[in-house]
């Protein structure tokens, strides 16, 4: 029997030995809410009660439903416990595991119907999802390579390496990736197989080595798909890289990962070490002639390093400045050698294409965008978390059916996709299908998959200002349109938000944004005008209100706000004590008054008031 099969058989047999397995989410979201201590105290509790031979505790990667964290799923029945605290561990063990009765108070209630939903499969958040890249989510321990192998991991690689005619098989792999229709998940949406083919051709033509690189420098604020994939299933990324490297004839690869992701780094390092000891990485992989190894480079906090040529510069220990696009990385990338760069999610999709076939993959999603896409669904939405859906699903299905809609009875206003260079899509476009081309048509873009939902408390001018400010800070400064254009837009937007907008500002913003998009050197600059253009496209009126009436309808732009103390005031003095500028005065037990000249609109008085006696308005 083959070594991989032996491991798989052993682990699966081992799993069957247990009456139940407790999958404790240890993704970053749940870890920040004490996921590790819950896992450990669960283990300790089982051990103390001598139940650890009947029940297995597995710390998994991100479950996805972060809003409900920390999460424990009891398998195989799939009971879903949410918002678990350390104190609940004893109850789960005694009531559920020993008593055989689910712990009702920890079950999830559907917020719209109020109905208890004990099983994960019944929950609206999960049942519209389709897991491809995240196929092992919640089912394996990401730090245990044997779990991955037990789920059929590294079988695609083994099968390919065993092919008799290696050259033909490699050719076929590239053709299969092209046929699968897989497009880059990092934002650009370039067909992955075509990229591989071009890189391989360049390497052969020039007789030079070729590198494969995994881009895990997820710089978009509001996006954590790549981090979650590495934290959940690092070996799927690694197997994808191995297949790609083998197909194009590469012997060396890199993962470029943000240093801000400590947990992902730990798990990735563990995965690399385990793969080496299992003969899956290094010299003569699985006894074949194929040798390949992966090194890690840590990013140092520069958004622009997500751009391919900047990333390559940063990998060589340089400042991450992009270069002109006419030099392609597949031909002259890292150290001026052909380099294939794909993002984490793209790599994670590769093994399953060869497990289930290119036809199967291309049958998912839409014609131009096959497969699934992972989104981080955050902002003003009930079910924040990580979702994987087939391409072509509508925005409404994602936001309302999976996300559960906007909380607190607020009104949905817009959803922002594509990161800082993306755009805001309004309520009128909710029926739009989500794929590469539709999003671009709507003035946004797929980006890496951040989806930030905004309600009526979000000011769109402020959002544009926020993104432009972010991009101004992150612009590397190499080319003029991006460096100066962003400054000009930032200054104008700040003026508008400060109530000093003037006629002509909107036209100026439009012109600068278009110029920045048209004339910048790299894609960061080439899309830097989008936040302005897309908010102007759908929310022009809000800009006009800011400029003409000096009014911020969403009550966000400080300079346009006015706080007042109403007659509900009981004179408790709490606001006066907390006011940083001593703008509030008044005697104890008598209504207080607020000196508008001193007020800095910090909002502390409204936050601390127990009687709802502070009003907030924005009027011309």
């Amino acid at each position: 029997m083959d070594k991989l099969d032996a491991i798989a058989a052993r682990v699966n047999k081992d799993f069957k030995r247990y009456q139940a397995m407790l999958m404790v989410c240890t993704g970053t979201g749940c870890v920040s809410a004490k996921g590790f201590s819950i896992r450990d105290s669960l283990k300790a509790e089982l051990k103390a009660r001598k139940l650890d031979d009947r029940f297995l505790v597995v710390g998994t990667g991100c479950n996805g439903f972060c809003a409900a964290g920390p999460i424990i799923v009891v398998q195989p029945e799939g009971v879903f416990y949410h918002k678990v605290k350390e104190a609940d561990v004893a109850a789960i063990v005694s009531e559920h595991l020993v008593g055989g009765k689910v712990v009702e108070r920890l079950l999830y209630k559907d917020p719209s119907t109020g109905q208890v939903q004990p099983k994960m499969a019944d929950m609206g958040f999960f049942n519209k999802q389709q897991l491809v890249a995240l196929r092992n989510k919640g089912l394996i321990d990401p730090e245990n390579v044997e779990h991955y192998i037990a789920r059929g991991g590294y079988q695609s690689l083994r099968r390919l390496l065993a092919e008799k005619d290696q050259a033909a098989a490699q050719e076929k792999v590239i053709n299969d990736v092209i046929a699968s229709g897989l497009r880059g998940r990092g934002g650009g949406g370039f067909p992955t197989g075509v990229k591989w083919e071009a890189g391989k051709k360049a390497a052969i033509k020039r007789g030079e080595p070729i590198y494969v690189v995994c881009n895990a420098d997820e710089g978009d604020p509001g996006a954590f798909m790549d981090r979650s994939i590495i934290e959940t299933d690092p070996h799927s990324v690694l197997e994808g890289m191995l297949i790609g490297a083998w197909a194009v004839g590469s012997r060396g690869g890199f993962v470029y990962i943000r240093k801000e992701y400590p947990l992902a780094l730990v798990r990735l390092n563990k995965a690399l070490a385990d793969a080496r000891t299992h003969g899956l990485l290094g010299q003569r992989i699985l006894g074949s002639d194929f040798s390949f190894d992966v090194k890690i480079h840590r990013g140092a906090g520069a958004f622009v390093c997500g751009e391919s040529s900047a990333l390559m510069a940063s990998m060589s220990g340089q400042a991450g400045e992009p270069r002109a696009k006419y030099v392609h990385n597949v031909e002259y990338g890292y150290r001026d050698k052909p380099t294939i760069l794909n993002n984490v999610e793209t790599w994670a999709n590769i093994p399953i294409i060869f497990e289930k076939g290119a036809d199967w993959f291309s049958s998912l999603g839409t014609k131009g965008s096959s497969g699934t896409k992972v989104f981080s669904l955050v902002g003003s939405i009930k079910n924040t978390g990580l979702v994987e859906v087939p391409m072509g699903i509508t925005l409404r299905e994602i936001i309302e059916d999976i996300g559960g809609g906007v909380p607190d009875g607020r009104k949905f206003k817009a959803v922002q996709t594509g990161g800082p260079s993306g755009g805001c899509i309004p309520a009128s476009c909710l029926e739009m299908k989500v794929d590469f081309d539709s999003l671009t048509e709507a003035g946004s873009m797929m980006g890496s998959g951040g989806m930030i939902v905004m309600d009526d408390r979000t000011c769109m001018v402020d959002v544009a200002r926020y993104f432009v400010d972010f991009l101004t800070d992150e612009s590397c400064g190499k080319c003029t349109p991006c460096r100066e254009g962003l400054h000009a837009m930032n200054e104008t937007l700040q003026r508008i938000c400060a109530g000093q907008g003037k006629a002509g500002d909107i036209e100026f913003l439009e012109e600068v944004a278009q110029t920045v998009n048209a004339a910048s050197l790299c894609q960061l600059g080439g899309t830097a005008g989008n936040p302005v253009l897309s908010t102007l496209r759908y929310f022009r009126r809000e800009y006009e209100e800011h400029i003409r009436q000096k009014k911020c309808p969403a009550l966000v732009c400080k300079a346009l706000l006015r706080y007042d103390i109403t007659d509900k005031c009981t004179g408790c003095t709490l606001c006066a004590k907390n006011c940083p500028t001593k703008a509030i005065t008044g005697e104890r037990k008598k209504a207080h008054s607020l000196d508008q000249a001193k007020c800095v609109q910090c909002g502390v008085c409204k936050d601390v008031c127990n009687f709802d006696a502070v009003s907030l308005r924005s009027e011309s």
């Binding site: 970053t28 979201g29 920040s32 809410a33 972060c66 809003a67 964290g69 997820e218 710089g219 978009d220 604020p221 509001g222 996006a223 954590f224 981090r227 240093k259 801000e260 992701y261 480079h297 840590r298 140092a300 906090g301 520069a302 958004f303 940063s314 990998m315 060589s316 220990g317 340089q318 400042a319 991450g320 981080s376 955050v378 902002g379 003003s380 924040t384 978390g385 922002q416 800082p420 951040g450 930030i452 905004m454 979000t458 959002v463 926020y466 993104f467 972010f470 590397c476 940083p580 910090c602 909002g603 502390v604 936050d607 601390v608």
Partner: protein, 430 residues
């Protein structure tokens, strides 16, 4: 670049015929002035020394001022760029060659320009100006026109100036500079004392030829050129049939030889202002990454974690370890957000201002922390305890708005939580 062989140079030198010879007394510099200027007429083959008066110094100071003053001694209303009486004037100001300020090594050159037909000035690097000053001349005017290619050689070592026929040397500057440097230097070490002014053949055929001023680059072992580029003064130079103006400076006794210089010794681990402790700790980090320049970002990250900032001494030491220049390291340390050149506080409060947190009011949370700590974002409290940073996305958007202190994550924040978190963190050690 190929250096001329000693034989070729000897042959060129033998072809020289001295047309005029002039000996002068060395002059002590006083407050930046030698108080005399040189006038060389190559029509009459006459060399003379003229005084620099107190009035000249008061009114024109030096450099371009002296040049223009000397110009007006020579020209009249009919002088054109190619008239014999159109002089080329060169001067180094009272700070010339002092190395006190950037630019004090420059030479100012004036002449009537063939391109603009007006008086043109330009400034140029290279060693000629300072060496002329050290030789005891504040300014120089070359006038007249020779009938064949000539060379003016100022030998500050022998206090002697000659005008010589120089038929065999190349006219093109990159060759001529090498040939004259080789010709007049006593040995390799002495080459830095020779400076050559010349203009190439192109200057004979255009009106915008430049004047090249050489200096000997002892690291690359080549005579390199700086240009007096404006207005075509190189064209005037060749029009006068000047092949070169060469100065051999007073032998400045170097206190070190190339092989022993501080710069040359740097990679060997000699010259670094940092302490032994710093060197050792940086070496440890560099060795962890195999001293591979590809990993300097990782090394800097480790240094930042260890020292809470990237110090000047750390950059010096890392440069020695990796061979990456200090400038490049500084570039990296200031490009990436992860690095700080000033020490960060014992604890860094990172308030997430990623998009998800932003739409949930992160800006208010930042100001709440600013008020509670009495610092602005990016600042560090006076006692060095806390640094406040607004960061883009901590990747736990579901807990928005979020702040992170060390490994501790505080989620679902409200403005009133800020003082509480600071108290709790202040009490906690480590």
């Amino acid at each position: 670049m190929s250096h001329p062989t000693p034989d070729t140079v000897a042959k060129m030198r033998r072809a020289h015929k001295v047309l005029a010879e002039f000996r002068y007394e060395p002059a002590e510099l006083e407050r930046g002035y030698a108080n005399r200027s040189l006038r060389i007429d190559i029509s009459a083959n006459r060399i003379e020394v003229r005084p620099v008066t107190q009035q000249m110094k008061d009114l024109w100071i030096g450099g371009k001022g002296f040049d223009l003053w000397l110009m007006f001694q020579e020209i009249d209303k009919d002088t054109k760029w190619d008239s014999p009486n159109n002089p080329i004037c060169m001067s180094s100001g009272p700070l010339g060659g002092t190395m006190s300020f950037p630019g004090s090594g420059k030479t100012l050159v004036t002449s009537i320009s063939p391109t603009t037909r007006n008086i043109m000035d330009c400034n140029v690097g290279g060693y000629f100006g300072p060496y002329m000053k050290f030789a005891g001349f504040d300014a120089l005017a070359i006038t007249g026109k020779a009938s064949q290619d000539v060379l003016i050689f100022i030998d500050a070592k022998e206090n002697r100036i000659t005008i010589e026929e120089a038929p065999l040397e190349s006219a093109d500057s990159h060759l001529a500079a090498e040939e004259f440097t080789e010709m007049y230097a006593l040995d390799e070490l002495d080459k830095r004392n020779v400076a050559v002014v010349c203009a190439g053949r192109a200057a004979e055929h255009t009106r915008l030829g430049v004047l090249n001023f050489s200096f000997y680059d002892w690291r690359r072992k080549v005579a390199r050129l700086k240009q007096a580029g404006r207005g075509g003064i190189g064209t005037v130079f060749r029009n006068k049939r000047l092949k070169a103006l060469v100065i051999r400076g007073k032998p400045l006794a170097p206190t070190w030889r190339v092989a022993e210089s501080k710069v040359a010794m740097r990679p060997a681990g000699g010259a670094c202002a940092c302490s032994q402790d710093m060197k050792a700790s940086v070496r440890k980090i560099a060795e962890k990454w195999g001293q591979d320049p590809d990993y300097v970002i990782e090394m800097l990250q480790d240094l930042q974690d260890q020292d809470r900032h990237i110090s000047q001494a750390a950059i010096d030491a890392l440069s020695l370890e990796t061979g990456v220049s200090r400038g490049q390291l500084y570039h990296i340390a200031t490009f990436y957000k992860a690095f700080s050149l000033t020490p960060r506080g014992e604890k860094v409060i990172q308030v997430c201002v990623g998009t998800a947190c932003h739409v949930k009011g992160a800006a208010q949370i930042v100001s709440a922390f600013e008020r509670a700590l009495g610092i602005k974002q990016g600042g560090t409290t006076k006692d060095g305890k806390f640094t406040l940073e607004a960061v883009a996305c901590l990747g736990c958007c579901s807990l928005a708005p979020v702040a992170k202190v060390g490994e501790e994550i505080y989620g679902n924040l409200q403005t009133k939580d800020a003082p509480r978190i600071i108290r709790a963190e202040g009490a906690r050690r480590g």
